[in-house]
Assembly symmetry: C2
Homo-oligomer: 328 residues x 2
């Protein structure tokens, strides 16, 4: 099928750019050095491509993602890098399941749910989940006493992913990872899981990096000068043209908006997005029926709106992958 | 089922508040005076409730919404209040289908697709779709020459939906509707379709109001002092607690973020949302495992993330409705 024949809005990934991103990362962090985070794309077909590049351990953010990955035969080593209070669906999975814990309650939930392996989640500076570093050792003891295998620690330096000054970013990552190292000394285990696309080459402490965005990318990460290409684009149709602006048929329900407006490929400025529209000033005149492409500002909540991801070259749709890990 | 037993995040609507909203609106705009917009909730079960309140004509924003409404037996009079270049799926529907047109191209698309009835979409001040008012008559002639039935005009004063000063809002709506009246004089037909939740009681020109948000509401509309209650809430579980803040298991993939952060029912301040987390400062201490409720800032892109809408009372889930009009 030609791209031109896809109904719009349609989420596209350039197949060559995707391969570039996957192979660039696999060269930098081969095999188990990368634990790709599937929350960025929520697509088991894309995860299969990541597996084909040598990664067999994966990171998830939701129980649904864990279930979908296990069902897709990608359950060799799944980490739920998130806290849950009801782990029963995890305990039932035909997969190797590890879950993050940061409290006595989440440890108890893992036990109740029949999960056998955990990582102690440590706060390394992002105000989100994770115990204070100095509590990690006690939690590990509690988990072991409760019958759980403690594989090590995780600590996501998410506040340092998008820092324009690379030197400052490197300093921040080093400080954050010093906290994780200290916690790891108290916890033990083989795994130190951390990092993301913004710090994949700066994090010297993690035994495995949890990067996800690198595969598809977005304009926020694209501004950092990383060696990954903005492979994800939203195809839309111009449905109305006025003197000063034009309107295309994609909007708030096709784009994660927390990082702001999308960019238009080839230039032009976005005025605003409505539920099913983007109003924009084109750089050159456009006609009703023309196609435009947008680069989303944030990949994760964009992908979560779409049923399918179409792998394309310049003209053709090569494959259409279900975005099958959505919901909870 | 008790609300407490729902996996989180879970989208809830208070059944009594929903009924209050539907009956309040049906009293103000009975029967065909309201053409409820389903884009706000994307849920045919909720549309059935609106139909039970006497409305049998509906507004849609996407072809998928039109298809779903027709399949649900709600196709007595469906308006696609949006422009499309490929109307074939509309022409195939077993329903009365009217589509908005604002150009020769969209008129040609309606003809090609087998659609028989149109409204001339007029720009009344919102820079989005709609022809200049002075072009409406010519487009109506073109549509009629092309064999289409022109039912009248539509013109959405969307830039005036959320105006804190009601007097200014009323003035703005009057001015916008003067443009639509002038266009209608040139176009003819029985229908003048316009308005929304923010102007449902101010618009004196429209023969039918396209309100959608009134049924569920959100904090943006909730700030206006309208007689509709914020019936939509997102239930989440506290999964991590620190000294200064707590974290619950809902985030950017459960909340439309274009209008900003959600509010916490009962107080507390949201620090920020991540993909699957909200970090917040509670007003009173919370424990891991506690439930919290959030009020979304924008109903439409919030509902579009969820598979189900749970109708609840104070403790119980009364019904669970599929949000079945998502996608395109």
């Amino acid at each position: 099928m030609r791209i031109q024949d896809l109904p719009t809005p349609a989420l596209l990934v350039d197949g060559a750019d995707l391969e570039h991103n996957l192979s660039t990362m696999a060269k930098a962090l081969p095999g188990a050095r990368l634990r790709p985070h599937v929350k960025a794309h929520k697509c088991t077909a894309l995860a299969q491509r990541q597996a084909a590049h040598g990664h067999r351990s994966f990171t998830c953010a939701t129980i649904r993602e864990m279930e979908g990955m296990a069902a897709a035969g990608l359950g060799a080593d799944l980490l739920l890098a998130n806290e849950v209070l009801d782990a029963r669906r995890l305990g039932e999975l035909d997969a190797r399941v590890t879950v993050a814990v940061d409290s006595s309650e989440t440890i108890a939930a893992a036990v109740r749910g029949g999960v056998r392996e955990v990582l102690i989640d440590v706060n390394v500076g992002l105000p989100r989940c994770g115990c204070p570093p100095e509590r990690a050792g006690d939690l590990a003891s509690l988990a072991r006493k409760s019958g759980l295998e403690v594989r090590g620690v995780m600590g996501y330096e998410g506040h340092l992913m998008i820092v324009p000054d690379r030197e400052k970013q490197a300093d921040g990552v080093r400080d954050a990872m010093a906290l994780l190292s200290a916690a790891h000394a108290d916890v033990g285990g083989e795994v130190i899981s951390a990092g993301g696309t913004g710090s994949y080459d700066l994090n010297r402490v993690a035994t495995e990096i949890q990067a996800g965005s690198y595969a598809l990318m977005d304009t926020a990460y694209g501004a950092l000068g990383l060696p990954f290409r903005c492979a994800l684009q939203l195809e839309a149709t111009v449905i109305s043209v006025s003197e000063a602006y034009a309107v295309a048929d994609c909007g708030l329900k096709a784009l994660g908006m927390d990082h702001g407006n999308p960019e238009i490929v080839g230039g032009g400025s976005v005025w605003f997005c409505s539920d099913e529209h983007v109003t924009f000033a084109p750089v050159a005149p456009v006609k009703v029926g023309d196609r435009i492409r947008l680069l989303p500002a944030h990949v994760d909540p964009t992908a979560a709106y779409h049923e399918r991801l179409h792998v394309v070259d310049d003209e053709q749709v090569l494959e259409s992958w279900p975005i099958d890990l959505r919901g909870w």
